[in-house]
């Protein structure tokens, strides 16, 4: 019997669009495989695959889903992005957010996003997000 879980479903952003450039020690990472993994409504999650172009640019579109709100089950959206480069797997983005709004990952609409494989993961903690990333952006 489930009495706490009612209400209508509404759209949430499980991944805000990520457009940027991938570098390794300042040089473009060309034709690299990018894997995005998102988990939020089950323990398995879902994977999506992308590639950088010759100049290291990549574009990952927005992902949305429907969500029936319930304070008893905390909304937690987990995202991980890994890049395959020279036979090694690099984690460039690991994040969990408890808010389904667009761009809450970035604190606003991101511009000039650059991910540098040679950097350490930088920790960012806000009320809605806990993340480690090798990417930098401007708002």
């Amino acid at each position: 019997m489930s009495l706490f879980f009612g209400g209508d479903k509404s759209e949430i952003v499980i991944f805000s669009p990520l457009d940027g450039r991938l570098l390794y020690k300042g040089e473009p990472v060309s034709n690299a495989d990018i894997k995005l993994w998102i988990k939020w409504k089950d323990t398995k999650g879902e994977s999506f695959h992308y590639k950088t172009d010759e100049k290291g640019y990549f574009s990952i579109p927005k992902k949305t889903d429907l969500y029936k709100d319930s304070p008893l089950a905390q909304l937690v959206i987990t995202q991980e992005i890994t890049v395959e480069y020279k036979g090694e797997s690099h984690l460039i983005w690991t994040l969990s957010k408890t808010d389904g709004r667009l761009n809450v990952e970035f604190g606003g609409e991101p511009k000039n996003l650059i991910c540098e494989l040679a950097e350490d993961l930088n920790t960012i903690r806000t009320d809605e997000v806990l993340m480690g990333t090798r990417c930098n952006w401007e708002i």
Partner: protein, 389 residues
């Protein structure tokens, strides 16, 4: 010992929800309470998972926690942080499940069967972690929100009772964990002053399950936090709203807003005798009815010389047991039966039922029916509060 502030406790209770992968354990451990000078790697910690099928798979109760030594600000102190249910895992309707039951925990104290199952599945890992510290512990901080708060309460009791460490509990929007026997015992074992129960007045989760479940510390109001919603509201249960409510406040500042005297006998009697209409959508009604249930059941039990310790552990539901006790009270002297009758009239009024013309009409069957409807109403109010989001 360095007591974590309400802000820090809330940050940890919130952050633990965001630990979903191994790499995020490291992010969690980057919180300042774990940081050490000149040490980039986090201090010793153990990643706990409740049993699920195999040893480390999540079960439907979705218990989960991290235990770790503190950083430079908390040398030789241990943090046990637990989270509640998330959307990524099966949605355990842990509060309104009609099969809510009571079991004896490892110390033989009556507690919620679901919370106890969740905590018990983590005990082996917690034991292993403390063994690795070789007793070099000066304080243990147990923290959690919602189901995580219930598990933290059981963890605090277990640590204080079995390991004899100075133990401190910090919960946000936690439901009731055990009966008065457990609550009195854990208040004594952990220490009432070491228990920080933070709750919004309109958070429906903190009002469940109904009596005989109670909150610790015993006979203390906890840290009441004002919420902007006048009626029961699911919004008031959200961890993000608790984080905002306690931000930059001290524990002392959070103790400055006492509740009405729900536990004062004369106040309970005045409420039972009052002719004021009752409104089941008001959080005030649920606090009064809960206190009045406790007051009247104890009155009957004392008059009948019935021990309540363990009385609720049986094949019968809690409502059946209370109905039996109250029906016993109806046939007692006026000093007892009067209050049973007043309580039933008050509840029936709130449920929109026609009140009986005489005490004789209050049979055990009718009382049982009324109490079951009250429980259903409690669940419905909680559901409505949440659906209104």
């Amino acid at each position: 010992m360095n007591t974590p502030s309400p802000t820090v406790a809330a940050e940890l209770a919130s952050d633990i929800y965001r630990v979903q992968t191994d790499s995020q354990v490291q992010l969690f451990m980057s919180h300042p309470v774990f940081s050490r000078r000149n040490v980039k790697v986090a201090p010793e910690f153990s990643h706990l998972k409740a049993e699920v099928g195999g040893r480390l798979v999540l079960n439907h109760k979705d218990g989960f926690g991290i235990c770790s030594k503190g950083g430079d600000q908390h040398v030789n102190e241990v943090f046990l942080v637990f989270r509640g249910t998330t959307t990524a895992n099966k949605k355990a309707d842990f509060l309104t499940d009609a099969r809510i039951g009571i079991t004896n925990n490892q110390s033989g104290l009556p507690v919620h069967i679901g919370f106890n199952h969740c905590f018990s599945s983590m005990v082996p890992e917690i034991k292993k972690f403390f063994s690795s510290l070789n007793g070099n512990v000066t304080a243990v901080h147990c923290i959690g929100h919602s189901l995580g708060g219930a598990v933290a309460a059981l963890a605090a009791d277990w640590v204080a009772r079995n390991l004899k460490h100075s133990t401190h509990l910090y919960t946000f929007g936690a439901p009731r964990v055990g009966t008065d026997w457990f609550v009195k015992s854990t208040t004594s074992t952990v220490g009432g002053r070491n228990m920080h129960r933070v709750y919004h007045k309109t958070d429906p989760v903190t009002m469940a399950p109904l009596y005989p479940f109670m909150h610790a510390p015993y006979n203390a109001p906890g840290h009441y936090v004002h919420s902007s919603q006048p009626l029961l509201s699911g919004e008031a249960h959200r961890m993000t709203n608790y984080t905002r409510s306690v931000k930059d406040k001290s524990w002392e500042a959070l103790s400055g807003a006492p509740e009405p005297p729900y536990t004062l006998e004369s106040a309970i009697e005045a409420w039972l005798e009052s002719k004021t209409p009752v409104d089941s959508s008001s959080p005030t009604f649920w606090r009064w009815v809960d206190s009045a249930l406790i007051y009247v059941v104890k009155k009957v039990a004392m008059a009948a010389l019935v021990g309540l310790q363990g009385a609720f552990i049986s094949f019968f539901t809690v409502a059946d047991k209370i109905a039996y006790i109250l029906a016993t009270g109806i046939s007692m002297a006026e000093t007892v039966s009067f209050w049973v009758e007043r309580l039933m009239r008050k509840i029936m009024q709130a449920l929109g039922m026609r009140t009986p013309e005489s005490k004789a009409a209050l049979t055990e069957g009718l009382i049982r029916y009324v109490l079951r409807r009250l429980t259903a109403k409690s669940n419905k109010e909680a559901r409505n509060a949440i659906e209104k989001l």
